[in-house]
């Protein structure tokens, strides 16, 4: 039993943090908001140099062969920096889905795409049943799309996209018009449904990890601002009404943290509790981020309500991530089904109920 991350994992996290602190500044995020794609090829190839898109790609296919326990720390940093690149769709969800497809006989597809994805040349987008939209479809070379239980792989040339401008300018959502055919179908029936379920849960985990970073960043910004802003001749951060809001937000973020890390462990090890664990992670981290966004805004006062101040970059991330890969209401309902009705495995960590 070991909850600590290894030194290598911490080094990876630090490397990503250092890179993003230097490159993914609020000014850079805003600049991308103004571009048509909202995505940066330079950024993506720099991320590929540190290994981010290929983190979960097997070493034989040119990746780092790591698992979700490594990825979770990278995504936390992506959230902290409000990175807009398609890390979730490509690295966290698309890659493992391709790997699993390979294991189920689609090795041609897997071999074709994993290498280019790891090197940063190809991008993936993944659709799922909880959203009518597909994120990052406009920059994707390959789209993995559900059709009932089946799963299809479609190249971008074969789909028509309609942009759905989103409040969070970092998020790029699209309606995808496409025609499923025997040729595009890569997994069917229960096999397809299982793949969809696993991919969805990976997306849920990825959002939760980003939400952790977003929540922490909002608190840090607010703590810094309130330590500097003076009213009544003192820093407003000396007022308890201000302190306690941020302390409450910190409690929420910190009590989401271990839940998110455990969910990463469950996904990486293929735990039967995977779906329950990722839902817990998203509910806890998502609500923490939303709460932090409200409290951070309140203690900033009017300046935090302006477009010029950077706070809304993260507030908007908190809102959009809460709706991505299942809303928190949806996940709470899934948790109730598991915990109260026993529809999915959910057993208390460590503690085992009598008779179980």
């Amino acid at each position: 039993m070991e909850f600590n991350f290894s030194e290598d994992q911490q080094l990876l996290q630090q490397a990503v943090r250092d890179f993003l602190e230097g490159e993914c500044t609020p000014a850079a995020v805003r600049e991308l908001w103004e571009t048509e794609t909202g995505r940066s090829k330079t950024f993506w190839s720099q991320l590929a140099e540190i290994g981010v898109p290929g983190l979960l790609v097997p070493e034989d296919d040119g990746g780092l062969g790591m698992d979700e326990r490594d990825m979770v720390l990278v995504l936390e940093e992506a959230g902290r920096a409000a990175l807009a690149e398609p890390v979730i769709s490509t690295a966290a969800v698309g890659v493992p889905l391709l790997v699993e497809l390979g294991e189920l006989g689609q090795s041609g597809l897997t071999k074709k795409w994993l290498g280019p994805v790891a090197s940063g040349e190809a991008i993936l987008a993944v659709g799922h049943a909880q959203s009518p939209f597909v994120a990052d479809a406009h920059v994707a070379d390959l789209l993995l799309l559900p059709q009932d239980q089946d799963l299809h792989a479609v190249e971008r040339g074969d789909v028509t996209l309609t942009a759905q401008p989103s409040n969070d300018q970092s998020q790029r959502l699209f309606s995808v018009d496409w025609s499923p055919s025997e040729k595009t179908c890569v997994a069917q029936g229960t096999e397809g449904a299982a793949l969809q379920g696993a991919a969805f849960d990976r997306g849920v985990l990825a959002c939760a990890a980003e939400q952790l970073g977003v929540g922490q960043q909002l608190i840090d910004m607010a703590a810094l601002y309130t330590s500097q802003r003076q009213q009544f001749g003192v820093a407003i951060g000396t007022f308890q009404a201000v302190k306690h809001r941020l302390a409450n937000a910190k409690v929420q973020v910190e009590y989401a943290r271990a839940v998110v890390y455990r969910a990463a462990h469950s996904v990486a090890t293929g735990s039967p509790q995977r779906s329950t664990d990722v839902s817990m992670a998203k509910v806890m981290a998502g609500e923490a981020a939303l709460f932090a966004s409200k409290e951070a805004l309140q203690v900033h006062g009017a300046i935090g309500y302006t477009y010029e101040q950077d706070l809304h970059i993260w507030m908007k991330r908190a809102w959009s991530l809460d709706l991505a890969f299942g809303t928190s209401a949806w996940h709470r309902a899934r948790l109730a089904d598991a915990i109260i009705d026993g529809q999915a495995p959910a057993s208390a960590f460590g503690y085992c109920a009598p008779g179980s």
Partner: protein
């Protein structure tokens, strides 16, 4: 990161489970805030200690089994799983014990720890005073060195289980010229010392849960000092770290409550009648939060086993468990509906369990061990770096 138990850990669990299942009293004991309940709980502790299970992380020579903190968590899980009695000496074993381990002399360890483990000596915590609650640095009770003894004068209050305890660990001002957290000393006081008067205080359910303690020239040997003279504040902060941050409320306590809550929900629903639809979500949330608390504790334990120390994050912990405990009991009372008001023993109280008493106890959580407002101040200033003044 590997969240699976080793075979040794699984064996440890089995060993604890077998012993507990064979030895835990079949009927619940009376409340330890009553004279007969206090004695019954001491007998249970004595038995627990004879089996070597009173305080598993302590070294064998002090009555423990030299287990690590992770094994302690496993033991706690098994302890709550079988519904074993509450720990009457919790202030001793969970707060003072670890502090003695860190600050005590070899003689003090031998003198105090084994009798603490067996509950031959039950401890009360004597920090609060009428004018030193949240503002603990305002302690006024004095302990003035005179020959081989401290002469103690003044008053302590709210000492949990003080009505029945044998010893008290207190903070006293040894330098009468000092102020705030300077000049305070941590002293171990036998409550049968001449000059000490213990007056029980009833809590809102009428039980003698705590006590005020009056000192009138009570002489206590100088050797009963824990840590250096004048360093009491630092010693006490170590105690507070254990209290808020890890040992006082181990996660399985809340997982156990959450499990009972889920069962109550299912039973209430099955019985028909009105159930507030919001309760499905509230109950689920309690269960999830008990998990969050558990996972956080496992993470803390991993960190401590890697050599880290408990710091200000203990304050995050204290807020989380105390507020969760209230939410869980509130949800249970909502499920019980009109019957939530019934005292145990009322003819219609079948199945109401001890939710009401649990609720009343939970309400004190945000007050004792440093109020949650004080914890929020600590989080803001020491974790978030916000300005004090």
């Amino acid at each position: 990161m590997d969240l699976t138990y080793t075979p040794e850990q699984e064996n440890f669990r089995q060993e604890a489970r077998q012993w507990l299942e064979a030895n835990v009293p079949s009927e619940p004991l009376a409340s330890f805030d009553t004279p007969e309940g206090f004695e019954a709980h001491r007998q249970w502790e004595h038995k627990l200690n004879s089996g070597g299970w009173a305080m598993v992380p302590w070294p064998v020579e002090y009555g423990g089994r030299g287990a690590n903190l992770l094994e302690w968590l496993i033991f706690e899980e098994e302890y709550y799983r079988v519904g074993a009695p509450g720990r009457v000496n919790q202030n001793g074993i969970f707060l003072l014990g670890p502090t003695i381990m860190e600050y005590g002399s070899p003689e003090q360890k031998v003198r105090f720890l084994p009798k603490m483990a067996s509950s031959e000596e039950v401890w009360a915590q004597g920090w609060s005073e009428p004018n030193a609650g949240s503002d603990m640095a305002n302690i006024q009770a004095t302990a003035i060195a005179d020959g081989d003894a401290y002469v103690i004068n003044g008053q302590k209050t709210w000492a949990s289980r003080g009505a029945y305890a044998h010893w008290l660990f207190g903070m006293f001002r040894t330098d009468p010229e000092s102020s705030r957290h300077h000049g305070l000393t941590f002293i171990l006081v036998p409550l049968d010392t001449p000059g000490i008067t213990v007056r029980p205080i009833e809590k809102i359910n009428g039980k003698k849960a705590f006590a005020e303690v009056f000192f009138d020239n009570a002489r206590v040997p100088l050797d009963n000092r824990l840590g250096e003279e004048g360093q009491g504040w630092s010693v006490a902060m170590a105690t507070a770290g254990f209290e808020r941050g890890l040992m006082l409320r181990s996660p399985s306590r809340f997982q156990n409550t959450a499990r009972k809550l889920v069962e109550l929900y299912r039973k209430t629903l099955a019985a028909g009648g009105f159930v507030d639809p919001a309760l499905r979500d509230r109950v689920t949330r309690c269960w999830v939060e008990a998990e969050a608390y558990t996972l956080n504790t496992y993470q803390t334990v991993s960190r401590l086993m890697a050599g880290d120390k408990i710091g200000a994050e203990a304050s995050l912990n204290k807020i989380f468990w105390s507020e969760l405990d209230i939410r869980m009991h509130e949800a249970a009372l909502s499920l019980l509906g009109a019957r939530a008001e019934l005292r145990p023993g009322a003819p219609g109280a079948d199945g109401v369990d001890d939710w009401l008493d649990g609720f009343i106890f939970a309400l004190a959580g945000p007050i004792y061990a440093g109020t949650n407002e004080i914890q929020r101040n600590i989080i803001a200033e020491r974790i978030l770096g916000m300005p004090r003044k």
